[in-house]
Assembly symmetry: C2
Homo-oligomer: 319 residues x 2
């Protein structure tokens, strides 16, 4: 039943349960099933990967839900991958999928999936990148990756998305904090959400200034766009969808899409290699646990011990 | 100036700037400076590591600030390590250290440090564990690690803390979500914060029930405690500090402290080894980037390529 080849065929035929199982396999990628990725991806490379980041409270989930609807109205198939642990979508793997996104639950052209942390180093990034490949092959046109904009996984995803959308909201404090955190250096599209609030105009002006500054610092002819929305009221969503599409046309025509695709897949090779390395390390540690425990009790010989483990792992890998 | 041996000596003599620099080195641990850990830790192993977890909004930062004060009143030296990216303490490395925790800024017996994500796989866990060793050696009695309770780093820390404090607040929704997320399976001490709110009694009753259930499922004679606080009003803080101390007496007497110390340091060996493995992988990838990019463009040969990278890395390690 969960033979990956069968799952791939069924998922391609539109079987959502099969796709769900396939995604679970990809989340738990290891030496025995890493070949699935290769099988999956030889046909992909067409999808538009949209990274959406923003601080908790900016209304990300509601905005994404609206954006999914807008893309559906344009007849795109849409997948959402949530790697924001504070998101209702993501916490999520537990409840959120069924809550906020409920309106899309019965739509065969929408698939929403959160990446759970299964306690594996680098697991979130690898799972998200592998899922992108899967959704791509399955014919999803828009793959939205939701992140909170901090942490390794976010950085990984943002570096390889085709379009990066940065969400902000009225309130200077947040802006300054996000600015200092460097969030505003990456956006292709900036969104001022909750723009029905009276203090929105100031934030909008500020974001225009940020975009202007960005435009100067970058190569290429794309000038970061600023869009006003109110996700709660459903305002500005279509304009946002169109702006995101316009950016995709830009990356396609400029050759940037090809460059990002290669970067994404190269990073995936690296993450798979890292997973296999760490799997080997785990196996070595398992066998050496008792000895390591004795040595490290008072930390004398700690470094030699770490080096010994590294060499044992290396040896295991070349065998 | 930043010769690690000199920094260690100065930090031991109470020089906070030297300690700060040392922590930065530990954050960026690599093959060239991993020996610092060994130098540091041979004298440690005495500190009480307290992991504090809780959803954003539960008042964690305020509670920790109060708890620091309470421990100071008991004449303990206190360190705080924040690995919660949404915490004002942590975001933090940027602003928070100076904001919420300001009252402790001039206290020579308090050191507050957030762990920033420097884009290195597993970096947060390694940095936090290495910092624990540093604070331990420098004579800090209580090392508080603040986490948001989700993600790999949190799991890592919680597995190796001596005492785990789980923070909740009135509001059934949160409880159910946290319960489903498994947060409530790990606490040694549960805190119902904002207990001045009218709906606090229900949550308190519920947490007593959770603690009761936990007590049944565990070995050992410790029965998870439930403490009511209002961090904002400063209520229940001393009782919380005393309960945390009582748990420390328990782990010391039961031999659990020794077991957790060894587990913590064994995990540190593993993380250092992982860091060195991944450093090797980066070097290999650097040299192979062009070839990998060509191969992965259409993903044919993807898996063989990942395996080739793994073997190259292994080879490099045994040389």
């Amino acid at each position: 039943m969960s033979d990956p080849s069968v799952l791939i065929e069924r998922a391609k035929a539109g079987d959502k349960r099969a796709l769900g199982r396939l995604l679970t396999l990809l989340e738990e990628l290891n030496a025995d099933n890493a070949w699935i990725l290769e099988r999956l991806s030889s046909e992909g490379g067409r999808a538009h990967v949209v990274g959406i980041t923003g601080m908790p409270g900016a209304g990300k989930s509601t905005l994404i839900s609206r954006l999914v609807r807008a893309f559906r109205d344009m007849s795109y198939k849409v997948a959402v991958i949530s790697i924001d642990p504070t998101s209702p979508i993501s916490s999520g793997s537990i409840m959120g999928d069924r809550l906020r996104m409920q309106e899309h639950a019965t739509d065969p052209g929408v698939f929403i999936r959160s990446v759970t942390n299964r306690g594996i180093l680098g697991g979130v990034s690898l799972a998200a990148l592998a899922m992108i490949e899967a959704f791509d092959v399955m014919g999803y046109d828009k793959i939205i990756v939701e992140t909170v904009g901090v942490g390794q996984s976010e950085t990984d995803i943002m570096n390889v998305a085709d379009t990066i959308v940065v969400l902000t909201m009225p309130g200077a404090g947040d802006d300054v904090q996000a600015l200092k955190a460097g969030v505003f250096e990456i956006g292709d599209v900036y969104v001022v959400n909750k723009s029905d609030r009276p203090d929105a105009a100031k934030t909008y002006e500020y974001m225009l200034f940020v975009a202007e500054k960005e435009a100067l610092g970058r190569g290429g002819s794309w000038r970061p766009a600023v869009v006003k929305t109110s996700a709660a009221l459903g305002l500005g969503i279509r304009e946002l969808a169109e702006t995101i599409n316009r950016h995709f046309s830009y990356v396609l025509e400029s050759g940037e899409k090809e460059r990002r695709l290669i970067a994404r897949r190269t990073h995936l090779v690296r993450l798979v290699a890292a997973r296999l390395l760490l799997q080997s390390l785990s196996e070595v540690m398992e066998g050496e646990r008792e000895r390591v425990g004795k040595v490290v009790r008072d930390m004398r010989g700690f470094y030699d011990e770490a080096m010994r483990i590294v060499r044992l792992t290396g040896k295991r890998l070349v065998e």
